[in-house]
Amino acid sequence: MDFDLTEEQRLLQESVGKLVADEYDFEKRKAYAKEPAGYSEARWAHYAELGLLGLPFPERLGGSDGTPVETMIVMEAFGRGLVLEPYLATVILGGGFLRLAGSAAQRQELIPAIAEGRLRLAFAYTERQSRYDLADVATTARASGGGHVLNGQKGVVLHGDSADRLIVSARTAGGPHDREGVSLFLVDPRANGVSIQGYPTVDGLRAAEIGFSDVRLGPDALIGPKDQALPIILRVIDAATAAVCAEAVGAMAALHELTVEYLKTRKQFGVLIGSFQVLQHRAVDMLVSLEQARSMTYLATMMADSEDTAERRRMISAAKVQIGRSARLVGQQAIQLHGGIGMTAEYKAGHYFKRASMIDTMFGDADHHLAIVARGGGLIDPI
């Protein structure tokens, strides 16, 4: 039992930390957000140079065989910097599907392209009626001439408007809520019948509503086993959940530091406001909540790759509950302790608060995951 990083992991932490500190201050981030894709092309190319885009992939495909710990390190640093680039969408989600379920040809073609920064992906799975239920898939892919024809609507597709390829969940068999009969397809967003409406999200990222109308897919578009994609989706979503937990911890830690710093500089009534006990205790409660979130992120990271689906799901769900609750407490109190300045768009605190809050809505919020843990019999087993 240890929480130590290896020497390589420590170096990675150092270099990503430095990258974020040097290249992602608040002013630079504002400029990146104004680029056409909503993030920086130059930064993306730089991540590829540093090997970050290949981190979780096998070495022979241009990666470095990183574990979920490496992903956690990167995501925590990206949370600190409120990084805008589509790392989660491309490397963790899209890359996760290719890594775990892609055919040899798909892996050979696409994974090196991700690692080199030439291919951006987005995962289109949420539908208007599905909320957080991954098996609730109304989009259909009808077999036709060896391939499929895709019809349906996907919503809030993270970075869906800048992706070179979409990975789309669609029903190939069964009724709209069946756990079987879901398949995954690789779709070119420029294909006939694909309509994409991109938009900014409240936390400064980009997403899209995407429609598919009789989109023709070749036989090589299928990713993984037909009708049996749900376990793979769960696995990739669990890994992505662990990743956003780490991102949230990075954002919360930075926000907490910002707040404590403010308490040490802001004067009212002739004294530093950090000398007021009521504010000190609030800052302590934020720290306690942050440390609890960090602990659960470690747990989620350790479980992210587990083949034991039931155990992995309940621990990841537990972590997501903790993250959601901590993000509310840390975020709300950070704004309160800052007072008026915390409300402004010019100041960084609100941006951390917004990202941490939106992470709660990704892959199931605290209430959703609490219900999963409760239905699963909780966490404490009989001895």
């Binding site: 039992m1 000190q280 800052a283 720290l287 903790q322 404490i380």
Partner: protein
């Protein structure tokens, strides 16, 4: 990073678990599970079983009876003991005065008291708090005047847990009334049979009398009973209060109580033929505290891991985080344990063990509400949660 125990640690856990399964007397275990009050003889009996096994004071130096276990092993031992569930050794001896004597006592004190603590020949109690000195402990007034080879002690201590059983009390006393408040305090070991000591019970709202007032009226204490140097007692008290870093979270206790809660929820009717465990809202309340506890367990393991790397021998302010969260979780569980029996939380049944009357309602209901009221103490004792927040604010946040 690897959160699994090593093969050796798992083997150790199994060994410890097997020992508790066979060595813990069933009637003591039953009282623990049912949340009934333990008698002095239960605590003494269990401590002597541990001592015979050589596990009375695992965290002490080996030369004084410690086991030389790693911090991880200590953690496993403690957690398994709490989950057995076995009584915790009387902390006033093994975790408080014992480590102070080891660190600051003289040879005579070590040779006399340490073996007796291990085998609980002396029942120790703690004389820190006074009526006017709670969180502001250093304002204490109980005085000790040097008269030749004796001190004469006058004053009053309060909230003295289980003083009614005690043979010895360790006290903070004011030995130099002229010095600044932290600087005139000494640490004395006092025989409870000394003439001039009176113990008066304080009945708490749950109906129990586990705490007391202790009065000192011209009590003669040999100078040989002074620990360390005169007027340095505050340093020893700080050492004592910060000594126990991780046990403070009581994760094992909370796990055991949660298991009990789920057992009772499966038994308790919820109306309409359902059981409490079928109630989705109640189950989510349980799940929510289980998640908090899992996070605390991980936080505790982080502190244990840091301790193992030997980062510092000083009290870790992270233990204040463990105290705050651990106490909140225990209190929430005690609330749910009261809630689970619904209306049968209400009958007051203080002396079930000694009576022939059948219990009113389910036989497990009696102690649940009193325990809820009694456990409010957890966020007050050992430095209230507000004091812990002050510590974190200063030591970690630099405010």
């Amino acid at each position: 990073m690897d959160l699994r125990f090593t093969a050796e640690e798992t083997a150790f856990r199994n060994e410890v678990r097997a020992f508790f399964r066979t060595a813990l007397p069933p009637e003591i275990r039953r009282k623990m599970v049912e949340g009934r009050r333990l008698g002095k003889d239960d605590i003494v009996r269990w401590q002597r079983i541990l001592n015979e096994k050589g596990w009375a004071v695992p965290h002490w130096p080996v030369e004084w009876g410690g086991t030389g276990w790693t911090p991880t092993q200590q953690y496993i031992f403690q957690e398994e003991m709490q989950q057995a569930p076995a009584p915790q050794p009387l902390a006033f001896g093994t975790s408080m005065v014992g480590p102070v004597i080891i660190a600051f006592g003289n040879d005579a004190q070590k040779n006399r008291y340490l073996p007796r603590i291990r085998n609980i020949e002396d029942w120790w109690c703690q004389g820190f708090s006074e009526p006017g000195s709670g969180s502001d402990l250093a304002s204490l007034k109980t005085s000790a005047k040097r008269m030749g080879d004796h001190y004469i002690v006058n004053g009053q201590k309060t909230w003295t847990t289980l003083a009614q059983h005690a043979d010895m009390i360790f006290c903070l006393v004011r030995s130099d009334p002229a010095a600044k408040k932290q600087e005139g305090i000494s640490f004395l070991l006092i025989d409870m049979k000394s003439p001039g000591i009176t113990v008066r019970p304080i009945v708490t709202m749950d109906g129990s009398a586990e705490v007391n007032e202790v009065f000192f009226d011209e009590v003669k204490v040999p100078v040989a009973n002074l620990v360390g140097e005169e007027n340095k007692g505050w340093d020893y008290a700080k050492y004592l209060l910060g000594h126990e870093r991780t046990g403070i979270a009581r994760v094992g206790v909370s796990k055991e109580r949660l298991r009990r809660l789920k057992e009772l929820a499966a038994l308790e009717p919820a109306g309409g033929g359902a059981r409490m465990i079928d109630d989705g809202h109640f189950r989510e309340k349980i799940a929510a505290v289980e998640i908090e506890l899992k996070a605390l367990e991980m936080t505790q393991l982080r502190v244990v891991a840091a301790e193992r790397r030997g980062r510092s021998k000083k009290p870790d302010p992270a233990s204040s985080i463990l105290k705050i969260k651990g106490s909140e979780i225990q209190q929430t569980i005690s609330e749910l344990l009261m809630d689970v029996v619904g209306p049968y939380a209400m009958p007051y049944q203080p002396d079930l063990d000694g009576s022939n009357q059948p219990p009113i309602g389910p036989d497990y209901a009696g102690p649940l509400a009193p325990t809820y009221f009694n456990w409010r103490k957890i966020s007050i004792y050992g430095g209230s949660n507000e004091i812990q927040r002050n510590i974190i604010s200063k030591a970690i946040l630099g405010l």
